[in-house]
């Protein structure tokens, strides 16, 4: 029996967990400290770097490998910025249920992807990246940026937003071309 890839479902669960409606988020969203927000940001970046490394070794399409390379470069650069800011502010990133949920979802997605190869891997990886970047973008807008207290942390998150949006659009276009077989 062929294992059906369900990274989109994993990403959808993540999206549901992190996004919801803004008003509902306000009522039920966890109240996060800057240390916890920093940990979520670093975790989110690290997850995508590691997933991209997997794609770099398994993807069959040059375009997908190129995308994965960009993910490694960009998310590593953002993590370096976040680490430097945390050090300057004397903030130690604090583990929390949101970052734990991100890691758990990533572990599940990774297990599903590792069972795939060839074009099936490419399509599943890019589909997962679409869902993941949409979830991260929504989390930035609805949770991380609004709840960050430190101005520099908020400015860093706001400066990262265009990168996430560009990655999302890039992944969407790749998903379309992979779906067409081009």
């Amino acid at each position: 029996m062929t294992l059906q890839p369900r990274p989109q479902l994993t990403a959808a669960v993540l999206t549901l967990a992190l996004v919801l409606a803004p008003s509902l988020m306000a009522a039920q969203a966890p109240r996060l400290s800057d240390a916890e927000i920093a940990h979520i940001a670093v975790t989110a970046n690290t997850i995508d770097v590691n997933m991209a490394k997997l794609a770099g070794s398994r993807a069959s399409s040059d375009q997908v490998r190129g995308f994965a390379g960009t993910m490694i470069t960009d998310h590593s650069a953002v993590n370096a910025q976040a680490a430097a800011l945390a050090a300057r502010l004397g903030v130690t990133p604090a583990p929390n249920p949101v970052s734990a949920s991100l890691e758990a979802s990533a572990d599940s997605a990774r297990a599903q992807l590792q069972a795939l190869k060839g074009p099936a891997f490419d399509r599943a990886y890019i589909a997962r990246e679409v869902g993941y970047h949409q979830a991260v973008l929504d989390a930035l807008d609805n949770l991380l940026i609004p709840q960050s207290s430190n101005r520099e942390l908020r400015e860093l998150l706001e400066s990262v937003r265009p990168a996430i949006a560009a990655h999302l659009e890039h992944a969407r276009r790749l998903a379309t071309s992979l779906g067409r077989g081009t």
């Binding site: 960009d74 650069a77 990262v160 990168a163 560009a166 890039h170």
Partner: protein, 111 residues
């Protein structure tokens, strides 16, 4: 000044006058700055004269490129904070993009 000497003076001054006239009609090349920020080229459409310089400045925290769609010119990776200069050689209309982030698009018109 006697007439022959006046004529000689005019003859000697003629090339300089012609050169000055040519210099007046041909403007000096300009440098145009294209800012790369927020994963966009600013401006995204730029019109320059042949011989002008485009100076791409990367203000983002990640590397970008400025690459002609027809591959006739390519900056290679422009690191965060770095610049890359390109002299537009001929008239034409080039679409360009970032190879790392192909959603970033620009258009160079050379007149």
């Amino acid at each position: 000044m006697t007439s022959p000497l006046r004529g000689l003076a005019l003859l000697l001054a003629l090339p300089a006058a012609v050169a000055a006239g040519r210099a007046y009609r041909t403007p000096a090349p300009h440098t145009h700055e294209v800012l790369i920020q927020g994963f966009k080229f600013h401006p995204s459409t730029i019109t320059v004269a042949a011989g002008d310089t485009l100076r791409f400045v990367n203000r983002d925290p990640v590397p970008h490129t400025a690459t002609a769609r027809d591959s006739t010119w390519d900056s290679g990776p422009i690191a965060p904070g770095a610049t890359w200069a390109y002299v537009a050689p001929d008239t034409g209309d080039d679409a360009f993009f970032c190879r790392f982030h192909p959603v970033m698009l620009g258009r160079l018109q050379v007149r």
